[in-house]
Amino acid sequence: MPNRGFLLMLPAFAMLALVFLAPLAWFFTQTLVLDNDLSTLWSKIVAVVSSRATLQAIGATNWISLLVTVTVLLLGYPIAYYLANRRGLRFTLVVFCIVVPYFTSVIVRTYSWMVLLGRTGLINQLLLGTGIIDAPLPLIYNKTGIVIGMTYVLLPYMVLTLFAAMKSIDRNLLLAARGMGAGGAMIFWRVYLPLSLHGVISGALIVFILSIGFFITPALMGGPSDVMVAMLIERSVEITLDWPAAAVMSLLLLAVTLVLYAIYYRVTDVRRLMGAA
């Protein structure tokens, strides 16, 4: 045998095939292929994709994912920068704060936000009590709530990706830039940011990919009009029992995710070509 290393991967592959690929294939053949010939299948796809509900869901999904990605990036970049330049207790403490929520279930975290953000939640009570506002702010059951909740869940992915990128920046380059007369702003815009850019792109793609498939947070923290694609799929399966529509939308989501993942893969590959220095 030339190479038996693949045997180590076999259990994982078997698992993946059994619980992911097989059900997916079964679902798609059952719902789309068996009952339809090619032309009715095509018209069905067109009908689902061009329906008002789907278009709205796609629009909402893209918009929310974009908002979340930008928010996560703006929050995550300074945190990652802080971490990349600290050691010892402060480093450990911040990493702890960022990573620990990872180990808590998304549902628990989402319910915690509901306690904080509700009309009579802690934040509104605090703001009302101190007289900063007169009426409670609508922080939940709308896009604000979704973005807050998703940002919180996805922040660690961005921070850790950016941290890895920033850690790989050769500190000598920053010293060299200073030695050559560059001030803080020039060093950031001309050296630090370009050198961490692959991290920004990777992090943004990861967060966006995860965002477009989000279900629990938008379902619990969004308003009636904030229907994302994953929620629409769930409704088609559970409520309207329109499985073919669910299958078409799932395929669409899967295709978009794979395309974005391909881009992500390219970006990380380019990084390796750059020697990560």
């Binding site: 050769d170 000598n172 380059l173 010293l175 060299a176 830039a177 200073r178 030695g179 050559m180 007369g181 560059a182 001030g183 803080g184 702003a185 020039m186 950031f188 815009w189 001309r190 050296v191 370009p194 050198l195 070509l273 750059m274 020697g275 220095a277």
Partner: protein
Amino acid sequence: MVGREPHEGERDLEQVGSAISTGAVGLDGLCKSYGEERVVDSIRAAIRPGEFFSLLGPSGSGKTTTLMMIAGFVEPDAGTIRVDDIDITHLPPQRRGLGMVFQNYAIFPHLNVFENVAFPLRARRVPEAELRRRVQEALALVRLDRFATRYARQLSGGQQQRVAIARAIVFHPSIVLMDEPLGALDKNLRYEMQVEIKEIQQRLGMTVIYVTHDQEEAMNMSDRMAIMNGGRIEQMGPPGEIYDRPANAFVGRFLGEANLIEGTIEQVGDGEATLRTRDGRTLRARLERGATVGQPAALFVRPEKLAFGDDREGNSLHGTVRRRSFLGSMTRTVIDAGSATQVTVDLPNIGDGGGPALGAPVTVNWPAAHSLILLD
């Protein structure tokens, strides 16, 4: 874009260490400790305009820390650094206006050669046309004109080194600091680059402060050098002087092969002394400092100053050949000359077979004026 906003202190940037200054650097009582450890201890040196000055020493001797203090990356605990008469001790690095070549080149991987070299000029807001002219000029000087659009990863080690040099000189600093710039290159290329750096330094008339642990490199390039050990300067002067007249055994040994024959002072004369070795022989050598009879001392003589044969005038030792090493341009012969005395003789390879064979009884001699009494 934020990068275009002028930042604080920008007007001062061109003044210190730029072409306006003569390039004299004064270090006065520089000290730096990390925790308990004194890394740099009271360094004092006056580096002259246009001088090629090396800080030479083993690793951990404080030479790089000293350079980093001059560059402004390390804050000294005590002492002052001056460029001409301006105290720059507490000036941030970006306002010192010094050129700097880093150990591993520190070439920006995301910028091409042109933009790397243009970086110091962009930091100084040099107009585009002027910038292009100056970058081309610097690239031509290091013979990289054809590589302007390449990236660091597409260049050889020697070419990357040239980019680093072009970048350090492009804004015409009168002082350039170099931190082991040739450490990563192989031996032949290193020698070529030494010659090239020296030529550029002389052509531009700039002061170079050069850190290295390679003695040959320092001797080849320096007008003067400072031998550092344990955070202190052991000796400072032109290479020839330090090589022939080391201040102590450390310097003698560090700057090449050295014979150090230990004993006690037997007699002190005018600029000369006699040393009695542990196994009872007497040898004469120059004495440059005061010494007292009976004081422990060592006789220092370079292996290439020794010759085989007897000489009534100078010093001579009898012994047997213990080891012979053929080193290409010379043969190194180690001779046992008594129970506590071993001497090394280097003979140039002039096609005569390189001296006596292993185990042969021999006599070596050298003129007293070529040896020196070191008191440690």
